[in-house]
């Protein structure tokens, strides 16, 4: 094996790590806010709100992320005059913002289902008991519903975070040079796909391993009384 080449590739690839992480975490953070909003809409008694949320989730979970990225970045370019007039063209012109928007809408759709599942798992008796104690509205959510739902949803949300870190690789198709984009560039220059895959793959595995450990710590932190084995960890659970 050519260690010099591996090392120089490594030095070139780590330059892309900040962009990968930045896109992953900003889309996950903003996506979570939208996911909670969507989950609330899905449970709303106002049917049109529920329909909008259901439709959003259906479309974004039913189509490939890459199509969503292309639709936003290339597709919306067709409406440039209108977007210009509205003063938002600077946003849709930038591959970074378009990628961020596509990633965040996509993860919000999957996240909404996870949040909804978490909320559904809250035993009704707990809510009744809290009501009997005089809790309602925000207090009920803050003290009873949110903590239970969070414990239930965190393992699935951890999966979603890993999937999003991998999904950031798609932004390389709209010229953003994160780890996969740089890997593609090095491969096209050198045609040494195996070595580059080895190094880039190791970088992703290292990131994902770290994140998995952090999620496991967070799970333990929010529910130290729960035994690891009794928690519903869905093996091979996928969403994308």
């Amino acid at each position: 094996m050519d260690f010099t080449f591996l090392y120089t590739s490594f030095l070139r690839l780590i330059v892309g790590i900040p962009l990968t992480l930045q896109l992953a975490f900003s889309s996950i953070g903003l996506g979570l806010v939208l996911a909670i909003l969507l989950a609330a809409m899905m449970r709303s008694r106002l049917l049109p709100l529920a329909w909008i949320a259901d439709g959003f989730v259906f479309v974004f979970r039913g189509t490939p992320l890459l199509v969503q990225v292309f639709l936003i970045y290339y597709g919306l370019g067709q409406f440039r005059p209108y977007l210009d007039e509205m003063g938002v063209w600077w946003f849709f012109r930038s591959p970074y913002y378009c990628a961020l928007l596509a990633l965040l809408l996509n993860t919000a759709a999957y996240g909404a289902e996870i949040v909804r599942g978490g909320l559904q798992s809250v035993p009704h008796g707990q809510i009744e008991a809290a009501r009997a104690f005089g809790m309602s509205g925000f207090t009920l959510y803050r003290r009873i519903i949110a903590p239970i739902a969070l414990r239930q949803a965190l393992p699935a949300y951890g999966n979603e975070i890993i999937l999003m870190i991998k999904a950031t690789s798609l932004v390389s198709t709209i010229t953003l040079m994160e780890v996969t984009g740089l890997a593609h560039k090095i491969i096209s220059e050198t045609f040494r796909a195996f070595e580059v895959f080895f190094v880039a793959g190791a970088i992703y595995l290292a990131i994902n391993f770290t994140v998995t450990r952090l999620i496991a710590l967070a799970e333990h932190w929010i529910a130290p009384d729960l035994d690891q084995a009794s928690r519903p960890i869905e093996v091979g659970k996928l969403s994308h």
Partner: protein, 259 residues
């Protein structure tokens, strides 16, 4: 020339793009099915490895599932597309060929999707196998069944039943993942040779759905129209799959007590 309307663009035939988009949907489906079947082969082998009593197959299967579930699919597609071609070129040059030899995109694309989906299928197959009650296997052995017959009569049908919901999830994943082959430009050429006084060769080139949308968007300068059409076609595929898998689950659990 004024821009064409949506319905003018979406005509069937040489004037519009509907026929191209429909064939492209067919190719996307073909890529997904082949990728899924490759994945079934890799997944079964890796599940056997994980269930093995020996340490080496277990370790190898663990490495396989960890790597291919932890690395972006696009990176794997690049590995197969460029790596596969580089390997074939190197071998060909040993035999005196010159230049760069590209591998057919269909093969490398479906193999890459197969390797990735196989890593996910491993866990489903393993879980489904472990869900088969050991008592049933003991009973079958007591009846004198072993090897192939045990697999075919007792284990196989139950693995299929327990694994079906998980496989449905993976099929949806594969269907959406197949869009990634558009990045390396997968296309299939069909040749039609007509014999007569003259030998005519027609060449038709098919691309996958996303690639086709990309090409049409470039040539008509109406990208939104074509990407939104691609969205609709993908939704048709995923919705039909959801329905089909629900039917299959009903069929596979027929005669079973419902809880």
């Amino acid at each position: 020339m004024p821009p064409k309307s949506f319905f003018e663009l979406m005509q069937w035939g040489p004037q519009g793009w509907l026929d191209e988009m429909t064939f492209a949907t067919g190719l996307t489906l073909a890529v997904a099915i082949s990728g899924f079947l490759f994945g079934l082969v890799f997944g079964t082998i890796a599940a056997m490895g994980k269930l093995s009593r020996r340490a080496i197959p277990r370790r190898l299967a663990d490495v396989y599932t960890t790597v291919f579930r932890g690395v972006p699919d696009l990176l794997v597609i690049y590995l197969f597309y460029f790596g596969g071609s580089a390997m074939v070129t190197a071998i060909a040059q040993k035999f005196g060929a010159q230049g760069f030899i590209g591998l057919p995109g269909f093969l490398t694309g479906t193999l890459a999707i197969g390797i990735v989906s196989g890593a996910y299928q491993t866990e489903v197959i393993r879980g489904a196998y472990l869900a088969v009650p050991p008592g049933e296997i003991d009973a079958a052995r007591a009846f004198g069944m072993s090897g192939w017959r045990l697999l075919r009569r007792i284990i196989g049908p139950q693995v299929l039943r327990y694994g079906l919901p998980g496989m449905g999830n993976i099929w949806q994943l594969v269907l959406k993942e197949s869009a990634l082959v558009a990045v390396v430009g997968l296309s299939v050429y069909f040749y039609e040779v007509k014999l007569g006084d003259l030998v005519l060769i027609y060449e038709t080139r098919f691309s996958d759905l996303l690639r086709q949308a990309h090409v049409a968007a470039g040539s008509t300068r109406q990208p939104f129209v074509f990407y939104i059409t691609a969205v609709v076609f993908y939704l048709l595929l995923t919705t039909a799959s959801t329905w089909a898998f629900r039917r299959a689950e009903t069929w596979a659990t027929r005669g079973l007590r419902q809880v």
